[in-house]
C-alpha cells in the first residue's frame, strides 16, 4: 500500500503526515508514506484544497486534517477493498 500526503508543506500537511503514520502504527499496517510537495504533482490528482490524502493513487480526502480515527477508517477501507 502506498499512501501519499499532498500539500506544499505547511503545518496542516505536516500534521496530516504525522497522523497518517500514527494511524498506520495503531492499525499495525506497513505502507510507504510519501509526501508530494510540488504544485503540478498536487494538482494532477485533482486536488484543490490541501492537504489531500491519496491511498494507492486514489484521493480519499482533501481540504482538511481528519483525526487519527478517521484516517484509520480510510486506510482500513482502502485495505479491505483491495483484499476482497
Amino acid at each position: 500500500m502506498t499512501i501519499k500526503v499532498l500539500g506544499p508543506g505547511c503545518i496542516n500537511c505536516r500534521t496530516l503526515e504525522r497522523r497518517t503514520r500514527e494511524a498506520l502504527t495503531e492499525l499495525n499496517l506497513q505502507a510507504d508514506v510519501l509526501k508530494v510537495e510540488d504544485l503540478d504533482g498536487i494538482v494532477s490528482y485533482g486536488i484543490l484544497r490541501t492537504p489531500g490524502l491519496v491511498i494507492d493513487e486514489k484521493v480519499v480526502f482533501q481540504g482538511g486534517v481528519p483525526p487519527v480515527l478517521k484516517i484509520k477508517e480510510l486506510i482500513a477501507k482502502a485495505a479491505g477493498g483491495k483484499m476482497s
Binding site: I11, I42, V60
Partner: protein, 372 residues
Amino acid sequence: MKEWIKFALLAAVFLLFYFAPVSGPAAVTSLAAGLALLQEYARLHVLTCLVPAFFIAGSIAVYVKKDAVLKLLGPTAKKIIAYPVATVSGGILAVCSCTILPLFTGIYKRGAGIGPAAAFLFTGPAINVTAILLTGSVLGWDFAIGRLVAAMVISILAGLFLAFVFREHDKKNSNSDFVAGMSNDLPYSNITIALFLLLQLGVLVVFGLALEPALKGAVVALLIAAVLVIVLVKFQKEHTLEWIRETWDLMKKILPYLFVGVFVAGTIEVIVPQAFITRLVGENTLLSNAIASTFGAFMYFATLTEVPIIQKLMALGMGRGPALTLFLTGNALSLPSMIVLFRVMGKKQAAAYILTIMILSAFAGILFGELL
C-alpha cells in the same frame, strides 16, 4: 532557493546588530515605542477583536460548505458566475496562504481558467476575514470596507484583463474530475451555519461599539451564550473539537508573527524620520501611490502584520490613498510570491498579472484618498 533566503535573513540580522547604535538614546526610545504599541494591541485588540476573529475564521474553515463553492469554479462554470465567486471565495476557501497556490493552480489549469484564477489569487489573501476585522478595529471601518471593496473590484478587472490578453493560451479544460475525492461538507443547514457566524461576528461588533461597559458586557455574554447553545444543541462533538483545533492552529500560526510585526511597527515610528515619509507618500498623488504600490509589491508582510505597520506609517504622515494602495499590493504580492508566480504562470502571464495589480492598486488608492 530557500537556503539563500535563510542566509540573506541571517546576514541582515547580523548587519543590523553590527551597526545598530544600541547605546544611543534612539535605541531606548525605539524599544520603548515598540513595547508601547505591543501594550496597545494587547489591551485594545487581542480580546475584543483578534480572539473572536480567529474563532470566526476557524468556523469558516470547518463549517462553511466549500465543495459547493468550488464546483462554481470548475471548467464548465459560466464566466459571469465564476468571476464573482472567485472574488469572494478567497475569504471562505483559503485562510492560510499555503492553501492559496494549490487552489490557484487547480483553477487555472483544470478549472475556470486564468481570469477567475487570477481574481482568486489576488483576493485570497486580501479578503482574509481576520485581516479585515483587525483593520476595522485598528484603523476604522471605512478603511476595512475600502480595502475589501477595492480588492474585489481590482480582482475582477485584473482577471478579465488577463483572460482577454491570454485568451489563446487559455485552452479549454476537460471537465473531468475537477473536485476529486469525497465531499467533506458537514451536514448542517445553511441557516444554522449563517446564524452561528453572525452571532460570533456580533460579539466582535458589540465589543467595538461605544456602549456603557455594563450593557456591553451583558450583550456580549448573551451573544456568547447563544453561540454556545448552537454548539451544544446543533453540532456534533467531533466537529466542535475540529473547530477549536482549527482556531487554535490559526492562532499558533499567526499570532507570534503578528506580535513581532507590532513591535517592529512601533520602532518604525521612532527610527524612520517623519519628513521622509511625508515627502515620499504624504500627499495623494500619482507618484506617491506608485511608490506605495511598488513598495508593497516587493515587501513581504506576514498575515496581519500589514495592519500595525500601515497604522504607524500613517502616524508618520502617510496619506490615506497611499495607505490603501499599500494594503492592496502588500497583501497580494511579495518578492517570494512573485518568484513562485513566474514559475507557475509563465513569464509573460506573471509579468502582466503583477503590473496590472500594481497599476490598478495605485489608482484605487488615489480614488480612496480623494473620495473618503
